[in-house]
Symmetry: C2
Subunit: 269 residues, 2 copies
């Protein structure tokens, strides 16, 4: 297994993250997950733009240009037999203790590939998370940061309750998103998804479904789920139908719909 | 510089965190910061108890007993000329991609020492953070996790606004704490501190000040700051007087008060 770390391709078991890295010590960083096809990452320019925007908001330097990063991703993919996804992780790098930003940051950038997951399973059973809520008051709800523990807690709750995944409410009680995917709910014949102000991450797939598949942003509540004409989750890796939420069945989706939405958004530039 | 990593003392520049560590990739872990005196960490048993409690809540294994961890801390301290503080960092360790808990976790435990910081400066100037809020709806607000980006954002805002540190409001607009310290406000002749339900971390120093110095838990608002008879911040490393908040001066503290509170709580078992 080969990874790209700060400019060099290295064997994963030789790649070393320093114990003083603020990504490890403080969750001080960002990441992107990219779907790959035929040795190429999809929507690389959109992912790189989001990473750059997040780095700018957090004042983390990103001293590699897009050509370098694209070549790095291609090289990591070429070193794997059957890569299915790539992850780019950017941290503020090693520094002394405390929260103040280092005056001479040495950011860490790590690119890794993952093999395909198990083939898509049956439609998902979801629960509404009781253990935690998404904080729509924090700009972090709109950035793909390394601070993922609320999602981990909600996913764990889902598994303990016999579900595959959980939907998170925001602090006002509106729906925000699933632990690692955007929520789409069919209401009045329109696919609706929570607005960013409700705590939704600005997902790449989400943006494509809004721009090219007629989805609209709308505040959604648990009551909307009961009356929905269909529910699915979407992230960069794919779309998944939802069969039930808190043990109440959801309306079945039209056959082939998700495949069509997935391939049409995969193909978009 | 020597660190303790998963059972062994190693040179910091040889210590290797794996790129697949969930502490790095997802902020999936906890930490403790301990003040040290005469080669010994203060309140080690309280810090270890809090670490164990947090690990239990997050279902992260902690397969070292207190004697082993105490000996590890002593060994790290002995390897340093003038250690001022210790940090213990526990993560869920390396795993494959995704949020689901690994079935065979290999947790990472890292113990590092830091030299003394610059000597205590003048009383602090604080601001009320506008950039983010603390999420009192999440159990993470009551755990010392690696998800520290809200605090980093608020600290950065403070520095940009000419302050030393920021106070964070919770999502309801009550005061929660500073970026890395508990808030104490003198009202009606009593030292008050926000309750855990308002988003305050259950700090070790905080508990000692409540148990042994007459401080009480009380919901505090920005209005309370204007009428306060004194304000200070406290964490395991020490107590700091607050001179001004959002450019409004705070009442001066009685001379020697913080030194007395610090030494009396440092000494407690």
């Amino acid at each position: 297994v080969t990874v790209w770390l700060n400019g060099a391709l290295v064997a994963a078991d030789a790649a070393r993250i320093e114990p003083a890295d603020r990504g490890l010590l403080l969750g001080d960083g960002l990441f992107e997950t990219l779907l790959c096809r035929d040795g190429r990452p999809l929507h690389a320019s959109r992912h790189l733009a989001r990473l750059r925007d997040g780095a700018s908001q957090l004042a983390i330097p990103l001293p590699w240009d897009d050509d370098t990063l694209t070549a790095a991703m291609t090289a990591v993919l070429a070193a794997h037999r059957e890569p299915a996804s790539l992850r780019m992780t950017l941290t503020r790098g090693p520094a002394g203790r405390g929260l103040d930003l280092p005056t001479q940051p040495r950011p860490t950038l790590l690119i890794t590939a993952s093999p395909p997951a198990a083939p898509p399973r049956a439609p998902l059973r979801l629960c509404i998370a009781r253990s935690t809520r998404r904080n729509e008051h924090s700009p972090l709800s709109r950035l793909k940061t390394l601070n993922y523990l609320d999602g981990i807690l909600a996913r764990r709750e889902a598994v303990l309750r016999g579900a595959h995944d959980a939907l998170l409410l925001n602090t006002r009680g509106a729906l925000a998103e699933a632990t690692a995917a955007t929520l789409f709910v069919r209401r009045d014949g329109v696919w609706c998804t929570p607005p960013l102000a409700d705590g939704a991450l600005p997902g790449i797939r989400r943006a494509l479904l809004v721009a090219h598949a007629g989805a609209v942003e709308r505040t959604l509540t648990v009551d909307d789920l009961a009356r929905a004409q269909g529910v699915f989750l979407a992230n960069s890796l794919g779309l998944r139908a939802v069969a039930a939420i808190d043990d109440k069945a959801c309306s079945a989706l039209e056959g082939g719909l998700l495949d069509r939405l997935a391939s049409s958004t995969d193909r978009r530039g």
